[in-house]
């Protein structure tokens, strides 16, 4: 019987063990003492009496043990009984069970899915032995770091890494370095990307990753001039590309057109240190120098290696950092690059290495998504709360229909805790079913979320198998919801005096205010929470709209991007022929019918690649410098982009490596340097860079403003330089932008054909500019879509909740309404009475919701573009929408009240 008494005793027995134990101990001992007293009274000496009493007792511990057995058995048996009873009740009302299970499964499923992503991204440690010992070695301050950075991560140069490798302090048991790169595994003329890793020789040893097949690199593999000693591939790559064939060991694969022998396969659990990506092929760092022309090994201004160290047991980050601090001055003195810009040499010499925790790995994805995911988790949590409030209301309704049954049982002496336990058993069952289906649903949802975040240029990989944290989260959510929607109704149902309840079930007038209290509170909090959800959804969708409406200063529609790899051909040509060769290729593409304009560009705007430098006016000095972004483009770039060209001339055949350097600047540049409305003909000076000394540029053209780094930024000053004046760009693949009226599907084969005709050795990769831009707003689309979904769900649930409460109130007040109507109240007054109830709930709820929004609004500010969290339009629309839905939800009950036949209502029981 009494499910509640079972649960309560389960709690007592499991969670309050010590108290129960103490109680039992006291009880048995007091029995012995009383027995001894009795014997003393009959004349026994007190110590003898105590001994005799204990003997008669048969051992305190044995008695206690027997009691424990009985309690445990009782608990289980009665628990099973209550569960059976609960199941019968649920089966008897399938509609209720279905709605309850569905809303719980959705609520818990959404929460678990988001938590699962957070877990994989943020919380879980790397699948290597003792991940807590892993640290990252990086600069304490990057001010004055010059050159080019090849990664999102904290990266150092190879000369710095080699110093660390040769002089690492005692704090570490080993140090390793790695850098990411893209490899082309297709034969010449084609492109097939693979995620590449450059790793130091003992990378795998330091991490503790053992090969699943073959061997991994050792320190001996990684030495200058090593050539291509072999490749270690990931398990996924071995499955996908090598057919999971054990004989693949020793076989060559093509990496950037060089054959490389596969020497080992890593286990499936290891996917690299970049959480969110999975590596395909690892090569030793020394192999990066295979092509002398592109070697990074001695480059003091190319930052591309992330350095990790494994702490020796007993060492702390602080002590390791202190040790690194002592070796830093010598290290940076030794590695100071000759070409380092002189104004930053002091900064370089003051660089300091420190140790940072790295147990959870590295992730660009994490930086980008952890805040949005926490926010989404909170949002999904609100939906679950609203669902719980609905269920609590339903349970209340069910409890009140059983009011008389409850009252009878309590009148017959069932303790209140018993009845509560039984009511809770039903909730527990629902929560368990809900959490179970939620867990299943979460598997699907988290995969959907991941595919949403997956973009063409940035394939994602996250290990999503549920671990104990995810399971624990789901169970926690289930228990919490069970208590939330089950406990309040159970407490409420058993609070009333039995005599009252039995009367109330008979005939009442206006059901007492107190009984509605809980329902009103529930409905009010639902309204408040759904206002938060709806306002959030509106904020994020308006933010997305703002983003999509930003004028980037160019028209991305109808632009095809062709990445052509000319490096293999270019490097064989004499320097002077390289630019003309590339121009011939552009001419060939321009000749395709339907192509309007063709140009090449170093950094595609909003594409991720950026560089900036200090510039100042001719005749001024570096103390009056501003920072400007730089880009390199060819003739016709502005025509392709449809960026307005305002004054002066475009780059043309006059601009070569032998002619004086020229630049086209945008209006923001002219404004920032104070060059007046037409800067054409004026000069500016650019600070020295790792590759060039301080230089003067003549401004030959003025272009309209455009975005550069990020669609969210204010129009930045940009100086465009001519690709035809920069010979070293021959070392990179050429990014060609093509404006055409043809659809991309028609144009792509034409361009491919033209390039192959020009030279079959050139490999080309195609993309749409609009896709690249779309990838830049993934996070915003995610927030808008999901918060919109949660907002609708919340609104729907809240309206159901409000409808339920009002219907209930009307039913309970049927008698009262009948009397009012008999006394002359007309239908409008009755409707008004019901709507006033609704308006009260709505008003209080909306007020509370606004208050919550104002408090939590700060947390979302950084995720919004072009509006504030207190955006009046979004809040206004949310309130209006909520009011509309609330009025619809209350209309039906109000109409029902108005149609009551007074006579029937008076007789109604």
């Amino acid at each position: 019987m009494a499910l509640l008494s079972r649960i309560a005793s389960l709690f007592r027995n499991l969670f309050r063990r010590t108290r129960v134990e103490q109680d039992l101990d006291l009880e048995v001992r007091s029995y012995a003492a009383l027995l001894a007293d009795e014997k003393v009274r009959t004349g026994t000496r007190s110590d003898a009496a105590r001994r005799a009493a204990l003997m008669e007792l048969g051992g305190v511990e044995q008695v206690k043990e027997q009691v424990r057995d009985v309690r445990a058995g009782m608990t289980l048996e009665s628990f099973a009984q209550d569960i059976r009873y609960g199941l019968r009740l649920l089966i008897k009302s399938p509609g209720f069970t279905l709605v309850a299970t569905l809303s719980l499964a959705l609520g818990i499923g959404a929460n678990t899915a988001i938590f699962q992503l957070l877990d994989a991204l943020r919380i879980r440690t790397l699948p290597v032995p003792h991940p807590q010992e892993l640290t990252e070695l990086f600069l304490t301050d990057t001010t004055g770091r010059r050159g080019s950075s090849q990664s999102w991560f904290d990266v150092l140069t190879n000369p710095i890494w080699e110093q660390v490798r040769d002089h690492w302090p005692d704090a570490f048991s080993g140090v390793a370095a790695w850098g990411e790169d893209g490899f082309n595994i297709a034969p010449r003329g084609q492109v097939r990307g693979a995620q590449g890793l450059w790793v130091s020789g003992d990378f795998f040893q330091v991490l503790g990753v053992r090969p699943m097949l073959g061997r991994v690199f050792t320190a001996a593999d990684d030495h200058r001039g090593c050539g291509l000693p072999g490749a270690v591939v990931s398990y996924a790559f071995w499955q996908r590309e090598l057919g999971a064939d054990r004989a693949a060991l020793g076989r060559p694969i093509s990496i950037d057109f060089h054959p490389v022998e596969v020497i080992g396969v890593t286990p499936a659990s290891f996917t690299g240190l970049d959480v969110g990506k999975s590596f395909d092929i690892a090569l030793p760092i020394c192999s990066q120098a295979t092509d002398d022309a592109f070697s990074f090994l001695d480059a003091g201004t190319i930052w591309w290696l992330t350095v990790v160290g494994r702490l020796n047991p007993g060492w702390t980050l602080a002590r390791a950092t202190a040790e690194l601090g002592t070796i830093s001055p010598g290290l940076f003195q030794t590695t100071l690059p000759k070409e380092y810009p002189r104004e930053n040499i002091k900064d370089y010499l003051h660089f300091k290495l420190a140790a940072y925790p790295a147990a959870t790995g590295f992730s660009g994805l994490r930086q980008m998504y952890q805040d949005p995911l926490w926010l989404l988790l909170a949002t999904a949590g609100l939906v679950l709360l609203i669902a719980c409030a609905n269920l609590a209301n339903l349970m209340l309704a069910r409890a009140s229909t059983r009011e008389r049954e409850t009252a009878v049982r309590m009148a017959l002496g069932a303790p209140r805790s018993r009845v509560i336990r039984q009511l809770l058993a039903e909730s527990l069952l629902l929560a368990t079913i809900g959490a179970g289906s939620g867990l299943l649903l979460a598997g699907l949802l988290s995969r959907f979320l991941l595919s949403f975040l997956n973009t063409q240029d940035n394939p994602l990989f996250l290990d999503l198998h549920p671990d104990w944290r995810v399971l624990g989260f789901t169970i926690g959510a289930g228990v919490l919801t069970c208590l939330l929607f089950g406990l309040a109704p159970a407490l409420g149902a058993t609070r009333i005096a039995p005599s009252e309840a039995m009367k109330a079930g008979g005939r009442g007038l206006t059901a007492s205010r107190e009984r509605f209290g809980l329902r009103r509170v529930l409905a009010t909090s639902q309204i408040a929470l759904s206002l938060v959800l709806v306002a959030g959804a509106l904020l994020f969708s308006r933010s997305l709209r703002n983003l999509l409406n930003v004028n980037p200063g160019f028209d991305p529609n109808g632009i095809l991007i062709a990445d052509a790899d000319l490096t293999q051909i270019q490097t064989k040509l004499p320097w002077d022929s390289r630019v003309p060769y590339k121009l011939q290729l552009l001419d060939r593409i321009r000749a395709i019918p339907g192509v309007k304009a063709v140009a090449d560009v170093r950094f595609l705007p909003l594409g991720g690649g950026t560089t900036d430098n200090a510039v100042w006016r001719e005749g001024s000095d570096s103390s009056h410098a501003i920072t400007s972004d730089f880009n390199w483009v060819s003739q016709d770039y502005f025509r392709v982009m449809e960026t307005p060209f305002l004054a002066g001339r475009d780059f043309d055949s006059r601009d070569t490596s032998h002619s004086a350097p020229v630049a086209i600047v945008n209006r923001a540049f002219a404004r920032a340097l104070g060059l007046g409305p037409n800067p054409v003909g004026q000069y500016f000076r650019r600070q020295s860079t790792p590759s060039d000394p301080e230089m003067d540029f003549e401004i030959v053209g003025l272009a309209g403003d455009s975005k550069y780094r990020d669609i969210r930024e204010a129009d930045p000053p940009i100086a465009f330089l001519a690709t035809s004046q920069e010979l070293r760009f021959a070392n990179y693949s050429v990014q060609i932008v093509i404006r055409s009226s043809l659809p991309a599907s028609d144009l792509t084969p034409l361009v491919r054909h033209a390039v192959a005709e020009f030279n079959p050795e050139i490999s080309v990769d195609f993309g749409l500019f609009t896709d690249t831009l779309r990838d830049g707003t993934t996070r915003d689309r995610l927030m808008a879509t999901l918060s919109g979904f949660f907002g609708l769900l919340g609104l729907l649930l809240a309206s159901i909740g409000l409808y339920g409460v009002l219907s209930y109130i009307v039913v309970r007040r049927t008698n009262e309404i009948g009397i009012r109507m008999t006394l002359g109240a007309n239908r409008r007054e009755v409707v008004g009475m019901v709507l006033a109830d609704a308006a009260l709930v709505l008003g209080l709820g909306a007020g509370a919701g606004l208050a919550i929004l104002l408090v939590v609004g700060k947390a979302v500010r950084s995720l919004l573009f072009g509006l504030r969290p207190s955006d009046p339009l979004a809040l206004g629309i949310a309130i209006v929408a909520l009011a509309a839905v609330a009025m619809i939800a209350s209309y039906l009950p109000a109409r029902r009240a108005a149609r009551l036949d007074p006579m029937a209502a008076l007789r109604w029981e």
Binding site: S30, L34, L57, V63, P415
Partner: protein
């Protein structure tokens, strides 16, 4: 010297405990003595049977326990019947009389 005590029949102990508490609340030793008294020493309940039974019956909601002071001013746990316990006593008594009557008649039959 105690009179010879008899093993309790299954189910009898509950009835005896309920009966012993019919007049008011008692602590563990009190219940044990009261049972001895009302059965004229036929049944002696050992703590090893008494306490498990008391706790089980408390779980079933027939008894309610609370701490109080005993005669000699010692703290002791006092048990009393709940309303459910009183009903149970009624039901058990009726059942027992039926069984006792039936067994008696059966034994008298020749």
């Amino acid at each position: 010297m105690k009179p010879e005590s008899t093993e309790l029949l299954q189910g009898t102990l509950d009835l005896l405990i309920l009966k012993s508490l019919a007049l008011g609340s008692l602590h563990g030793l009190g219940i044990s003595r009261r049972i001895e008294q009302i059965t004229h020493g036929t049944f002696v309940v050992k703590p090893g049977s008494l306490f498990p039974a008391l706790h089980r019956m408390e779980e079933q909601g027939w008894l309610q326990a609370e701490w109080g002071a005993s005669e000699a001013n010692r703290r002791a746990k006092y048990y009393r019947l709940t309303r459910a316990g009183q009903r149970q006593l009624g039901a058990e008594t009726e059942r027992w009389s039926r069984i006792a009557g039936a067994i008696g008649r059966a034994l008298e039959a020749t």
